[in-house]
């Protein structure tokens, strides 16, 4: 932050302070008190110096924002702001979303030539992909007579997934697979049959890794060997919007809860919303893809 984006105005106590100085000055003049003049001017000097000090408390501070963790609607989004201070210690730096109340301010001190972290949480808006809201950073240090602030719009986005339904409804009845096989409900086998070996792909579970051969593979610079499990179509779990009823948000909530549950149970799942399809798979990447799809669905 520099000269061009820090704003500074006298605070309310600062205005009172001006009034006090004016009264002290008038009293000094009227009673011709030399020491009174001295006191008045000492305070005026300190007040002016505090303006500079308040400004300097923000000037030259650099900030960055950790990419915020995605949240589910209704949860608190957490922003983690890191302060990099190359100068002297700074005190009483307040962070809040622009336009929120004074009480919502998170305060932090930045040590000399050091870093500090401040966490700011706010209620996540409805599902979707959002710009991180504009942040206001304020300080009144040292005397509180001036209020310096700066506005910062971090270049970061926040994913808000739909609220997950709770408790989780049973998975939908799966339509007939290509082989015509029916499954009343998905049987969730933990140990799938051994079918072969292939290199590790993102999304493979740790369980699938053949740890006995892992050391050798790493030694020779190859990817980790993974058991190829045969995932028959009948065991694929399709989470389909068609299987839900009710308002759009409720349906998305249910789908979201299914995704989480399927992921938890390590059962490969696919997502079908409207005409869009995501093929069955497992893993954080897949889960994210699904949830993001749900978040953006209109």
């Amino acid at each position: 932050m520099g000269q061009h984006n820090i704003y500074i105005v006298p605070s309310r106590p600062g205005l009172f302070f001006c009034g006090t100085i004016a009264i002290l000055l008038i009293a000094s003049i009227n009673d011709q008190l030399s020491l009174g003049y001295m006191l008045t001017f000492l305070l005026a000097g300190a007040g002016l110096a505090s303006m500079q000090a308040t400004h300097a408390n923000l000037r030259g501070l650099s900030l960055d924002l950790q990419a915020p963790q995605a949240v589910f609607a209704g949860q608190e989004a957490m922003l983690e702001i890191r302060l990099h201070n190359t100068g002297r210690a700074r005190f009483g730096l307040g962070f809040r979303l622009r336009g929120t109340a004074e009480e919502a301010t998170a305060w932090v001190d930045a040590p000399e030539k050091g870093h500090a972290v401040v966490r700011l949480s706010y209620a996540a808006p409805a599902r979707g992909l959002y710009e991180v809201p504009e942040l206001q950073i304020i300080t009144r240090f040292p005397l509180g007579l001036f209020r310096a602030w700066s506005l910062w719009r971090p270049a970061a986005q926040l994913w808000v997934y739909p609220q997950a339904e709770s408790p989780v409804a049973p998975f939908p009845t799966q339509a007939a697979g290509p082989e015509g096989e029916h499954a009343a409900s998905v049987q969730l086998h933990k140990g799938l049959e051994f079918e072969g070996v292939r290199p590790y792909r993102r999304g493979d579970t740790l369980r699938q890794v053949i740890w006995k051969k892992a050391a050798l593979a790493l030694e020779t610079g190859q990817a980790l060997p993974v058991r190829e499990t045969h995932a028959p179509a009948s065991r694929e779990l399709w989470l389909d919007m068609q299987d839900t009823r009710g308002a759009l948000e409720a349906r998305l909530s249910r789908l979201c809860a299914w995704v989480l549950e399927a992921e938890r149970m390590q059962s490969p799942y696919g997502l079908r919303v409207g005409a869009q399809e995501i093929d069955p798979e497992l893993g954080p990447q897949h889960r994210r893809e699904c949830l993001e799809r749900l978040a953006l669905w209109v």
């Binding site: 030399s34 020491l35 006191l39 001017f41 000492l42 000097g45 005190f91 009483g92 009144r140």
Partner: protein
């Protein structure tokens, strides 16, 4: 021991600060106010220590109403100075009870500064200044603490920050102090006298049980030629004629004045008069001249009783020249009828003294004398009475009038302890009882034993009261009963010293030396800092080379300083923005030169590349420049090349400039 929680510690700090602010005011407060203040502070401290809740709002409102009522009952006003101070002190103590430590620091802060300023009405001495500094520091520290919401910052850290802010404000303070125009009071007039020894327009008999010896300087005199002998060192101040049995006051309203004839060889002198904050200008007796004089912002006139009065209380140091005649005849031709005011006595008061005076007057030895001779003989008889009895001159005579309304009786017959004003008052009452017009003159008497650098110093402790009586055909004569009882007071020019304190007795040699040093420091403080006046401001301007110092010049000087500061800070900002490492700056300089020569050099290229461009472009004449660029490349990129020192880089830059100029010349 468990560490104290931050809130508690902050509250304690604030309480201590408040106590320090209020402490010097306590002698002014009535006992009940002192008790309430103390109680509140202790109560608040206890609540903080125990972690109890603060009292409810209603209780506070009731206490506030009660204290306001008490103040009003005591003074019947809140605007009276002492009432105001007491009320502020009480308010400050009360405020602590709804103090949430941090946010309320502001209220305490503002109240605190008013109380500090009010203190200056009573003292502006060096100790007061030191107290002010400490208290202001503590108040600012409390403010800084309030702005540190995180964790438990140490007091020392907050104090350091407060000190840093204050110190960075010092230049502003000094400039303002030097240049802010010292204007006359906006309305009203400054309060006269501040309860020191010294002068005022009234004198209350026996009200002061003890007078403090104020050794601050009242004025300095430098004589051109002879110096008057000790018994002529009287400086005439307010003349008090009206007596109500307890208080002497100056007469008001139009009245006949005394005519004056002077004789003898006058003493000529210059006077530097410190601001005494009274209207009287004490001049050495007897000053001549009838015309009003303009001294600084004041017009000074001779009053009917031959005292010199300024148009408003003198709050600036004045320098002027004056003359004093050793002999005078004042009011000789006045008729006794016009002197009734100088015979007036309060009815029914002091019957014993009046009876005694009438008996003295009735003594046959006075009957034979003429009207013109008799007053002098009576005065001499009274003086003999003072000398012949066990009267004691003391600065701590105790209070008079506590058991009887007849104060002069009490002094003349019963206690016989007093200082100049007691003796002068008794003398005047006795003379009036005997039908001789008489009045009290206050002023200064005596100088320091030795002049300082040619200046004779008169201190506030030289303040004095004496008497004058009138004889037909002769006029007013000075009579100083103090000279009868304590000749050294008048001859030596020095007031009696108070009884020696414990320290003085313990180490008689060291203590006076320490005291002397302190007094010199305090005096220096008074002279240099406190008495800085409009005159000094103009002198300063003169020394800065302004031929005609006036308000406009002062304003210009202020504007100039502000302008310089503004430009300076703008410059500083630009300076802070420029690249910070030497290499970036050097590269920018070299690049601008190369581009000036028409080369397509760019910042991301190395000096090696620039050298190649120079060779290509200029061929052989460019060899020198290319070599210089190569050496830059060497110094920057060659392994184990020592970095250039300051001298080397300056030399290099010089050679670079020369080479550049030569190429420039070649090109054109």
């Amino acid at each position: 021991m468990k560490p104290i929680p931050r809130e508690t510690r902050d509250v304690f700090f604030l309480l201590a600060t408040i106590a320090a602010v209020v402490a010097p005011h306590t002698p002014l407060l009535p006992l009940w106010a002192q008790a309430i203040c103390g109680l509140m502070l202790v109560w608040r401290g206890w609540l903080a220590w125990q972690g109890h809740k603060l009292p409810g709002r209603w209780l506070l409102v009731i206490v506030l109403a009660a204290t306001t009522a008490l103040v009003l009952l005591n003074w019947r006003s809140l605007l009276n100075r002492e009432a105001g101070i007491s009320f502020l002190c009480l308010l400050m103590a009360l405020k602590t009870l709804e103090l949430k430590a941090r946010r309320d620091a502001f209220v305490v802060f503002f109240l605190g500064f008013f109380l500090v300023l009010l203190r200056f009405l009573y003292s502006q001495s060096l100790p007061t200044a030191l107290w002010t500094l400490l208290v202001v520091w503590a108040l600012l520290t409390a403010l800084v603490l309030a702005q540190m919401p995180v964790g438990q910052p140490s007091l020392a850290l907050a104090a350091k920050r407060a000190a840093r802010v204050t110190v960075s404000g010092l230049p502003v303070m000094i400039l303002l102090y030097l240049l802010f125009p010292r204007i006359a009071p906006l309305w009203g007039i400054p309060a006269e006298t501040l309860g020191k020894t010294g002068l005022s327009n009234q004198m209350t008999f026996g009200a002061m049980s003890e007078i403090a010896n104020d050794d601050s300087i009242a004025m300095r005199l430098r004589f051109d030629g002879a110096v008057p002998p000790p018994d002529h060192r009287y400086l005439r101040g307010p003349v008090l004629e009206t007596f109500d049995g307890q208080r002497w006051t100056a007469r008001e309203g139009p009245r006949r004045g005394d005519t004056l004839q002077l004789s003898g060889q006058p003493w000529r002198y210059q006077m530097t008069l410190e601001p005494l904050r009274i209207r009287a200008v004490p001049l050495l007796e007897t000053a001549g001249g009838d015309a009003a004089q303009v001294l600084g912002p004041y017009i000074v006139r001779r009053g009917p009783e031959l005292q010199w009065i300024a148009s408003s209380p003198v709050t600036e140091r004045l320098r002027f020249a004056a003359e004093a005649w050793p002999a005078q005849t004042a009011g000789a031709e006045r008729s006794p009828a016009s002197l009734q005011a100088d015979l007036q006595l309060p009815a029914g008061k002091n019957p014993r003294v009046r009876a005694w005076a009438e008996a003295l007057r009735a003594q046959p030895r006075f009957a034979a004398l003429s009207d013109g001779e008799r007053p002098a003989a009576l005065a001499a008889a009274v003086m003999d009475q003072v000398r012949g009895n066990d009267f004691i001159y003391t600065l701590s005579p105790g209070r008079y009038g506590e058991t009887t309304p007849h104060l002069i009786d009490e002094f003349w017959f019963d206690r016989r302890l007093g200082f100049c004003e007691h003796f002068a008052a008794a003398f005047v009452v006795i003379m009036r009882s005997m039908g001789v017009p008489a009045r009290i003159v206050t002023g200064f008497q005596g100088f320091d034993a030795e002049p300082q650098e040619g200046w004779w110093v008169v201190r506030n402790s030289n303040a004095h009261a004496w008497a004058e009586y009138w004889a037909p055909g002769i006029g007013w004569q000075r009579a100083d009963p103090t000279a009868a009882i304590a000749p050294e007071r008048v001859q030596g020019g020095q007031a009696l010293r108070p009884a020696p304190g414990a320290l003085e007795r313990f180490s008689p040699a060291v203590w006076p030396a320490v005291r002397g040093l302190w007094e010199r420091m305090d005096n220096r403080w008074q002279q240099l800092i406190l008495n800085y006046s409009r005159q000094d401001q103009f002198d300063l301007l003169k020394r800065m080379g302004v031929a005609q110092p006036d308000w406009i010049a002062l304003g210009r000087a202020g504007a100039l300083v502000i302008g310089v500061i503004a430009l300076g800070s703008a410059g500083l900002i630009v300076w802070q923005r420029r690249p910070h490492d030497a290499w970036s700056r050097q590269r920018a300089a070299v690049l601008s030169m190369l581009r000036g020569l028409g080369l397509p050099s760019a910042a991301h290229e190395s000096p090696l590349r620039w050298a190649e461009q120079v060779r290509q472009h200029f061929g052989a004449p460019g060899h020198e420049l290319a070599a210089l660029l190569m050496s830059l490349e060497q110094s920057r990129y060659a392994p184990e090349a020592p970095p250039w020192g300051w001298r080397e880089s300056v030399a290099w830059r010089h050679r670079l400039r020369v080479a550049g100029r030569m190429l420039e010349a070649n090109r054109s």
